[in-house]
């Protein structure tokens, strides 16, 4: 039985591939993006979310904790992450939701059972299952097991990937994945390395390999004002798109700084990416640029 670490399974996802989908979010990612929207997805291990304003100061965490990480003083609760051993005993008795575990280990069968629940909605909307994360290929055994299970149950499969990892992993997924939602974080190699912690070329190499093996892709591109909202980057995206035989289009996504709200709850420092979201106008100009100037069909900014 293959086990993996996930941080969520969401039903009724409408923008993670075609139709109504169930998205399984896997935990653990080889990239370390400055703008990460889901910081709890980075580590394979479980994380502790602490949301002080939900706390009702019941004191049960303090009573349960063997490591003195929770302190009750004047009916106020203080959580000391330095003392926390991440045993998550406290979260088990926290009914207010102030302490919550991010992440759980489940088997592929359990994940599939959850995915199976919305089968009728996939059938009626042309939807299916999407693996996202985190990076699904970072847990290749688990990912493969879920994909195989979904395929043998005739459930449409998508995977959202950062594209970084051993080439053979991507090659073996091609027959199992009906649509790759392929993230291109940046097309400038220097910035890519600086902002994500990994080099760009292997990602493009994997993309080429998947494309040549007949894998269908959509490029998913986050536009970040202070980083990549430039014609140069859009030209780069267009170039990648044109180099592929089985790419269905480019989806533009707008960066937003909401990841910081989760970083705070994880006890992490805010991102040093001092940046607002792009405006609607910027996004539509980028879309028009790709469509009109680069002559690319299938550019979407709805997702």
């Amino acid at each position: 039985m293959t086990t993996g670490a996930i941080f969520d399974i969401q039903r009724f996802c409408t923008h993670d591939g075609p139709g109504i989908r169930t998205t399984v979010f896997l935990k653990g990612c080889p990239l370390n993006c400055a703008w990460c929207h889901n910081p709890e997805s980075k580590r394979r291990q479980r994380d502790m979310f602490y949301t002080p304003h939900l706390c009702i100061a019941c004191g049960r965490c303090a009573a349960r904790c063997l490591h003195h990480a929770h302190l009750m003083a004047d009916e106020c609760h203080v959580y000391d992450r330095h003392k926390c051993a991440l045993c998550f005993e406290c979260a088990e008795v926290c009914y207010s939701g102030a302490l919550a575990v991010a992440g759980s280990d489940i088997t592929a069968e359990q994940a599939l059972a959850e995915v199976e629940k919305d089968r009728v909605f996939y059938e009626e909307s042309g939807g299916g299952m999407t693996l996202s994360g985190g990076e699904p290929t970072a847990q290749i055994e688990f990912t493969r097991a879920i994909l195989e299970g979904a395929r043998s149950a005739s459930i449409h499969t998508c995977i959202e990937t950062c594209g970084f990892g051993p080439a053979d992993r991507f090659a073996e997924l091609v027959p199992l994945v009906e649509l790759f939602l392929w993230d291109i974080k940046d097309t400038d190699e220097t910035r890519h390395l600086a902002n994500t912690g990994v080099p760009l070329p292997p990602i493009l190499e994997n993309l080429r390999l998947v494309d040549e093996a007949g894998g269908t892709t959509i490029l998913r591109c986050l536009l970040i004002p202070v980083v990549n909202l430039t014609e140069y980057h859009l030209d780069g995206l267009a170039q990648i798109y044109r180099s592929l035989s089985n790419c269905q289009g480019i989806e533009l996504l707008a960066y937003h700084p909401f990841g910081d709200s989760k970083r705070a709850r994880l006890g992490l420092a805010a991102s040093d990416l001092a940046c607002d979201a792009p405006t609607e106008e910027q996004i539509s100009r980028a879309r028009e640029y790709l469509t009109d100037i680069c002559g690319i069909d299938g550019v979407h900014s709805s997702a």
Binding site: H15, P278, S301
Partner: protein, 747 residues
Amino acid sequence: MAKDNGINRRDFLRTGAAALGGGLLYLSAGGQAEAGSEKLMQTLTSPTTFPSPKRLSDITHALAQRGLSGEFGRATVSAGVKLEDLMDVTGVSEEMRCAHAIEFIAERAPLRILPGERIVGSATYNEAVHHAIPIYNKGSVSHTTLGFDKALRVGYKGLRKEIEDRQTRGGLDDKGADVLNAMKLCLDAAGLWHGRHLKQLSELIAQSSGDEKAGYERVYANLRSVPENTPTTFAEAVQSLWFMYAFQRLCGNWSGIGRIDEMLGPYLKHDLASGKTTLDEAREDLAHFWVKGTEWIGGIEGRGSGDAQHYQNIVLAGVDAHGNEITNEVTYLVLDVVEELHISDYPIAVRLNSHTPDKLLKRIAEVQRHGGGIVAVYNEDVVIKSLCKFGYPLDEARRFANDGCWEAIVPGKTNFIYSPQDTLLMLQKALPLSGDTKGNPDYPDFDGLYAAFAKELQTAVDAHNAGADGYSVGGGPAPLVSLMIEGCIEKARGYYDRGPKYTVLAPHMGGIANTANSLLAIKKLVYDEKLLTLSEFLDILGSDWEGQENLRRMVLSRIEFYGNDSDEADAMVKRVFDDYTSMAAKVRERNGVLRPAGISTFGREIEWRAHRTATADGHRKGEILATNFSPSPGTDKIGPTAALKSYCKMDFSNLPNIGTVELKVLPASVKGEQGVRALVGLMKSFVKLGGCFMHIDVVDTAMLLDAQRHPEKYPNLSVRIAGWSARFATMDKNWQDMVIGRTQQAV
């Protein structure tokens, strides 16, 4: 970190307000906005979240704005006189008194004919807005849909002939003769009102010039021979239907309209084929029917606009009495008009089935995205099956429309009313736990406790049946209504005197979601896990969870309740559902009264708070609990698909009077073509899974603001923007404000 490496050739940057742009917002779990009557009252306030195409003329838009602003409703006047002031009523029967009052209304009510209007006829008396018959000053009729289809077909002339034929046939008792005379007097009154309109139109034509004059002439021409006669064109048919409807309204009756596309579709088809009209012209005509529907907005002081619905429901699509799909151009024009004008005063229910054309589903989805919950859907495959199982002949079942809410009735043939009961009250009695008294329960196992609840349920069903036996016998006069209800002329008996072909008093249970959830919580805590005794639990509930916040939170956070596609929780709901429906099915008809089971709360989850104690499923006294047959607010943690699946586990072929599920989605989750596809998928799944009535609400920022103020009501409202997702309640205010700002901009 490299910022831009100096390689920007041209700058796309312009810092400004964070826009949603390519971002997404999903509502993956439902807290519910304050429901029920308050919800009903905020119909027109929902902001538009998706741009509408503009197809209608500026004149039509301007008139719509005037109606929506409450101008016409505020201008309604009191009749200011009583019947006794106008005539000597000595020796006049009640039936005839009422008919005379209607005659006086027709003679005296102010007319309103505006430049630019394509149809005329206005209910200008304020008593009518308050559900009373002006001048007669007694209650009027609602909760039914009159036989506009037949009246349109045969005209007032045909109805008059039917009455005369009946009189000629004879064999009438005094009461019967009286009832028929009163109906005839009502027809005369309707003719009088019609004549006044033609006269005033003639005057307006004489006084005006240019476009305005041409407009009046057009109206005059369309009104001249209807509703007395059968319409010959689509424009006449629209005018005729409205004129009959408006006269009913003027006299205080709040009827549903019924299947407007079935009624008007053939006229449009004919006119389009013969080149008499175009789709654009027809849309314009139909739009004025919608504009007219707003004329009572503002008619009730201090209640805003939502009071304007007045049960004027419209049903679209589905099969006709012979089983043929009736979807036609009128179906689509109605959706066009609603999409463009955002007039929610005619709540629309579309009858879906397993063969509904994709084109129609797509149009419904596009309109639903505008929010406001204007368009809901039936699964007629199940509704018709349930009506047949209940005992209606197939052709009658296929004719179903509703009573003004969503209860299925045969339109034009039915006296309908329902009687609401709260199952939570029954559980409180069984436990026992009611108000200030705490009981001394002795249920050694859960089944014993459940049996005590089931006994209370049976008692309630029995009480309903006892009350229903004498329903609607020798009731007050309603001759104008009787005229349009099949059976009344033939039997020569009034609407409230068993005249209608069908007299229905439906039992409606409300509170089932929280009742079943409470049963589940008691079963788990007291009998399965033995965390506390029933007695202890009841003490806690009796003192409104005082000092037991932890336990309460545990119940709320650790038990999966109805609405999460959890077989255990849904089985408990199903147990209550099955018991209720089989109890009700034992007496489907008695003493001439039909009793189809329904499940509803409508707005009563608000008034019922007064008698509800704290509940075992974690709610304090005074909280607003589940509406209709929807999950309890905040407990459907997984989203619309799971909520729908839970609901659809019931066998709705056993619930002939319907039970509704309300699903809420955020605008961004239904954005773009993908969003339309998702909504279509939800509707098709709803049909396939065997639901019976579904209301999809695309929520607006008002709900997010409410969630910010009352996070406890929305513990699981989760928002998703692109790859990011979080529960709304876990975010601090600044972040919440940003989400709210983005939702506003998502439009």
